[in-house]
Symmetry: C2
Subunit: 331 residues, 2 copies
């Protein structure tokens, strides 16, 4: 294991992005998000992911020099064209307009098109929720999940995130895929020869299986049966047709199969509790959070990430040598 | 069984509401929603429910003569004060402004406060989605669902609905509670001496149980584990603190326990695909719906309801004599 401070980890990723043709601003925004995922204990979105980012730069799929364009289509409607780059620079370019719009109009709806979303959704909304705003984010992905009752992968793993501001704490945020488990977990189980729990996936004929290799050749199942399937369908519509972007199966058809996410869209909805409901929102929601925390065994979404982050920021983090070596080899 | 046309069923309910002090317009809007649920095969929200509505009128909890007040707080932000009445008249009062706002501004956010929500959420959004708009609805309810990992009922069954317009068909709509099953199913099982599936609920000590009586004394569980719990938490925040209304546990504390829903709020979000993404939304989304329908076993949410409705409108519907007699006894 190699020991890194948050700043050292950010610098390593930044330098690797710049060495592979990223502009300074794009490298900085993306590196910060990658290092923050590592600090939060989300290793699958942390430095482990850098070779995937670099592959998509080298394959020419993602533009490291993208210049995102932000336009206001109506007083509360913003469109962001990511210019074929990573998601974090597009969010950074739009953020101040998004926050100002939500605060003045009460709501902002933001359609991101022509972006490549490698990162976690919580990173997109945390800075917005820190401004006393509530936010949703939705994005789709390569077809991997069968609709309830069906037999073939159609929906992406289609995550959604929701965040709620807290006056004296980091925002409450959840960020969850529409599949029972993440695809990465199935891949790890296949590599290590483990079986999956029942209900995670089906084989290529649509039959239930616990064999991760069969699931990878078949489809994952949505969480919670038909209810999670409805959520996956909703995300597909919001991150595609609503904002003028492609569906998961269309994204797959035009992807260059370099292993990274396909081109896609993301919908961001931002609401101001101050403007919509009035001044009591914080007192009210803290009562609810208190009632959750007083139940042994229950906890607020993101609490584990935030305690990991606090430890990482104070003590630094240990990153496997193999991960660090791979990044250095790419510079 | 008694045979009724849709109009005859609506008239029966209307007359019962008027006989119990409802104004004509309030009786009409509410009766239509009740009769439509019956026509759609949703018996639990159909005529079976009328005695519950009447109990809440007679107990003085719900105002039959409510006059909902609609106000525009910002170009895209609408507030509807239901004046202590049922939800359907509040929706009817706001609908034309909501639709016009979403079409002109691209989005409308609508906070309903001081309403009593006995009906299904799909009825609130179907007329809006019929105007080529996409809509979300969220409402909370009496505490019935434990947070994931917890042991005590805290969240309401907290349904959410989402609808997407279709140019040549009725809108795609799903409407689902955050619990694994509806509370009514647990009550029916308790009455009939059946057991529930594992994972539906816990007893008063927080232990898993399949005994419906133990579940009614304990708590129901959210669908899909911690992911459904996060959805229940989100609904609680959106239908409460965001719009200036109470949380489920606060609603319970002020309720008169007449058996009907407590006072509460509802959030409606309405988006215009035409204004946000552009003209291709319908072609795009129909491609997705086609891909779902071609998988044997998979189907679009609401398809079963719509085929029930078609049959009911053509052939009428059969309603148990006991249900009809109870309504007639209340007039």
């Amino acid at each position: 294991m190699a020991h890194f401070s948050f700043q050292e980890a950010t610098d390593l990723v930044y330098n690797c992005f710049v060495a592979n043709g990223c502009s300074g601003p794009n490298a900085l925004q993306t590196a910060r998000v990658v290092a923050l995922a590592e600090a939060d204990g989300c290793a699958s979105h942390g430095l482990f992911r850098v070779p995937g980012y670099i592959r998509s730069l080298r394959s020419g799929k993602v533009s490291g020099s993208a210049v995102p364009q932000v336009s206001l289509k109506a007083p509360s409607v913003i469109q962001v064209n990511g210019d074929g780059g990573f998601a974090p620079p597009a969010h950074h370019a739009a953020r101040s307009l998004v926050v100002d719009t939500a605060k003045s109009e009460g709501i902002a709806v933001v359609g991101f098109v022509n972006i490549y979303h490698f990162s976690a959704l919580w990173a997109d909304i945390e800075p917005i929720c820190a401004e006393n705003l509530c936010a949703f984010a939705f994005t789709s992905y390569l077809p991997a999940v069968a609709p309830a009752g069906g037999t073939k992968a159609l929906f992406g793993t289609n995550p959604m995130a929701f965040g709620w501001p807290r006056t004296h704490a980091l925002p409450m945020i959840f960020d969850q895929a529409s599949s029972v488990v993440a695809r990465g977990e199935v891949m790890l189980a296949a590599r290590d020869g483990h079986t999956m729990a029942e209900g995670v996936g089906i084989d290529a004929q649509g039959h239930p299986t616990t064999d991760p290799k069969e699931i990878l050749g078949g489809a994952m199942l949505p969480f919670g049966g038909y209810k999670g399937s409805a959520i996956a369908l909703m995300v597909e519509l919001l991150a595609g047709p609503l904002i003028g972007e492609v569906l998961s199966f269309e994204a797959a058809a035009i992807d260059n199969a370099d292993g990274g996410p396909p081109r896609g869209g993301e919908l961001l909805l931002v609401l101001s509790p101050d403007r919509i409901g009035g001044a009591d929102w914080s007192t009210q929601s803290e009562k609810l959070f208190g009632k959750i925390s007083e139940q042994p065994g229950a906890r607020l979404p993101a609490d584990r990430r935030y305690s990991n982050r606090q430890r990482s920021m104070q003590l630094g983090m240990n990153i496997p040598d193999s991960v660090v070596d791979k990044i250095k080899d790419l510079m």
